[in-house]
Symmetry: C3
Subunit: 332 residues, 3 copies
């Protein structure tokens, strides 16, 4: 028996809108500690990890661990029928093959039950190792979304470079180049307007803008976004969900080849050779990978979250599989 | 000579937006008592009846009864050119083949004349018999529109079931089932937020959501909608138009066959038999029909409207024609 | 070395949105007196002239005259990345083949550089002769935009007729005819709501609505629009840009042939001959032309603008070329 009552039902609506375009089908794992999801995107390049801790629910009953396979688009369709002020309750029987979403209007005059069939989804619960990041940028989530959108009108990839002074987002495309610098700024009126940089080593990494833009669909969830970067690790783009959890997106950096950079320099009507821009050519010495180890405990010292277990932690793929996929990542 | 001056010209704009997608061409009937329209939708499944009483106009001159055939899309195009605060005047000569819409801005600085060709449209004026309804639901029109839209994301038909406690809207589709219950609620701050149920017999009828969604385009006209249901009659969905009239939509209930219900139960990835839901299977004992009798006077005791006559009340079809069409109603 | 700093960067954004659909590629001419552009639309029917005077910039440095060829769509893409409150700086080196747009947020926390390749564009700087207009209409720009949009739902061309009482906009199409009269009105609360007519001779000219609608994309730049008409000259539709300049659109009147008018009278279901409307049939006695003389100084007594020179004032086409193109103007 599962019964999770969430007064701020709009949070769940926003979570679904954040991930439904990235992931088609996924297992929601429910245990005594929380309601969570972990899934690769359909092209196996990005990873989403969602956690809603049990303490955040008004009522949380989960008699035994459950893994519920759902089509996220269908789930989003149902949650879109909830009003923004509705209380949402998720209900399921232990042996059942359906899940019910109940929406109660604040005045209790309107009560809706949406019942959805569950699916059997093969998945492994991948452990995401604890890591030290070389640079962590916290900035207004709307600013980050705007930057990713703006750069997409010029190019396909973004180089994120962090120095002590600030974070620079760069791109280049057929029509030209763009560099946007956000300076560290901690003396703001509202904390959510701050841009804070914690840096050990300067870092410069390249990512597909297409995925970054997909991640920014979580912007309505939080005023701030945290971007954690290390030269040999996937970037983590994290949005906190009220006081109850987070949604984290992982994406491996792109390894830009020399030829590829050459290709980008071509423009339709060149009049003269442009000088290639240093910052858009990361060195090819390292081979970053989406480093995902099976059956490793999730730990987050900062927040001290309990481990999320899943019954489906079996047959996880070795590391090199994932690495291979990341390296052929195709961004159109 | 016809000259109808309507200070709240935006009402006419909203009326046209309500019906232009449902009905292509129709005769507007103008008599001393009012400006009215009655038309079947293009698939001959739903019926629209509009009445704007003469008292609601600032100036109303109609020397003799006129039936003006208009293309509603073209009329809507012209009325869309009126400002929301404009005064609208409808003008026509007795023997003429055009109608003129005049729009005056509140300051009289801008005056527009739009002249449209009239059409010859064969139509009969169908009498809509007075009826006693088993259940009448009054509820916020925006709530009803939201429910029809939400259910459309799940299924094609809605079962409306009225009991003393409230009204339930149900649907089912490939991705699951949905039930939305609105409870009677008369103790509200604003009268337009009330949900009021007058019921003699519990009633449960099935309708095509596609038409219901089309009817809800009239939502901007009124804060409340009235839904009148009887097991052997078409449902009436009524929106009042200010103090001057109404727009009513009639739709025959769907007769769901056993096979059809079976078909709905199929889902893409069934893991186990679902128990069929009682409320989505109306009994097949009755054959409801869009009961329309030719040449019958329109009477409405509640409002005491005078009869609207039309010169084109000829060659009306017998009842069974309509019934046949209703039964093969195809909702894609 | 060119460096132009514009505090109201949003003006430049609005300018680009106004002209990018009309003109693909154009030279921006920069001299000590200002930043200007003059270009025919891609079908060579309309002409755009833009001027931003140097005094309007916070900082204006232009060491020598520069003509910078740009793709306006790409430039608009880049400027769309500027925030509405950003300060925009345009930078270019004298011998360079790129232009840089720098966007600074009001708090200086975010600084963006967008670099675009310049293009070689063959163009002549056409002198636009000083002219006396028979009628000049000033009216709210939003009103003019609304009228052009509304008439487009009925017909393809607009007849603009000016008399002492007001200005009339007329059209006709398959579904009917439309006439919109705006009366002179100088006693308004806000000056931007005034409609002011200066007229020597009544004038009535026909124009393609497609171009008029394109011009009204400049509406966000100014509250008022000025329409200058003479029977033998292209109309000038002018929007002032703050205190620093203007954007002017020139369009030759259409010569409507008798046959063409006949064609318009046809409607889908005519019941009777309509009486042709006098005002939609301009006399065919005059042959208006887009009268553009090469190498003529731009003069505007009202504003006393300095001449805008350009290095590319060579090989301008004779008058008759333009005239020929105007007469075959094809408006679908």
């Amino acid at each position: 028996m599962l019964e999770l009552r969430l007064v701020q039902g709009s949070l769940l609506k926003k979570v679904m809108e954040s991930i439904k375009d990235l992931v088609n089908d996924a297992n929601f794992d429910c245990s005594a500690t929380g309601f969570s999801l972990q899934a690769m995107d359909s092209s196996h390049v990005a990873l989403v990890a969602l956690l809603l801790r049990s303490e955040g629910f008004e009522h949380y009953r989960c008699d035994r661990n459950l893994s519920m396979g759902m089509n996220l688009n269908n789930m989003a369709k149902m949650l879109r029928c909830a009003g923004n002020d509705d209380i949402v309750t998720i209900k399921a029987d232990d042996g059942g093959d359906t899940v019910t979403f109940m929406f109660e209007s604040p005045t209790q005059d309107k009560i809706a039950d949406f019942e959805m069939k569950l699916m059997d989804i093969d998945s492994e619960h991948l452990g995401i190792p604890e890591a030290e990041y070389e640079a962590i940028v916290r900035m207004p989530s709307s600013e980050f979304a705007r930057i990713c959108k703006d750069l997409s009108s010029i190019g396909d990839t973004v180089v994120i470079s962090v120095t002590k002074e600030g974070v620079k987002f760069s791109t280049r495309g057929d029509i030209g180049t763009a560099n946007i610098v956000c300076r560290q700024n901690t003396t703001v009126d509202k904390p959510e307007d701050a841009t804070i940089i914690e840096m050990e080593t300067p870092v410069s990494l390249t990512f597909a803008l297409r995925y970054m833009n997909s991640f920014t669909k979580a912007t309505p969830l939080a005023n701030q976004v945290t971007i954690s970067l290390s030269s040999e690790l996937p970037v983590v783009v994290e949005y906190k969900i009220a006081e109850m959890g987070y949604i984290r997106f992982y994406l491996a950096p792109k390894i830009e080849e020399e030829e590829e950079t050459e290709h980008h320099v071509e423009t339709t009507k060149p009049q003269k050779e442009t000088k290639p821009q240093k910052e858009t050519k990361p060195k090819v010495e390292t081979k970053p990978k989406l480093e995902i180890k099976p059956k490793v405990e999730i730990k987050d010292d900062e927040e001290n979250e309990p481990q999320v277990e899943s019954k489906s932690q079996v047959e996880s793929k070795p590391l090199d599989d994932t690495k291979a996929e990341v390296e052929v990542m195709d961004v159109e």
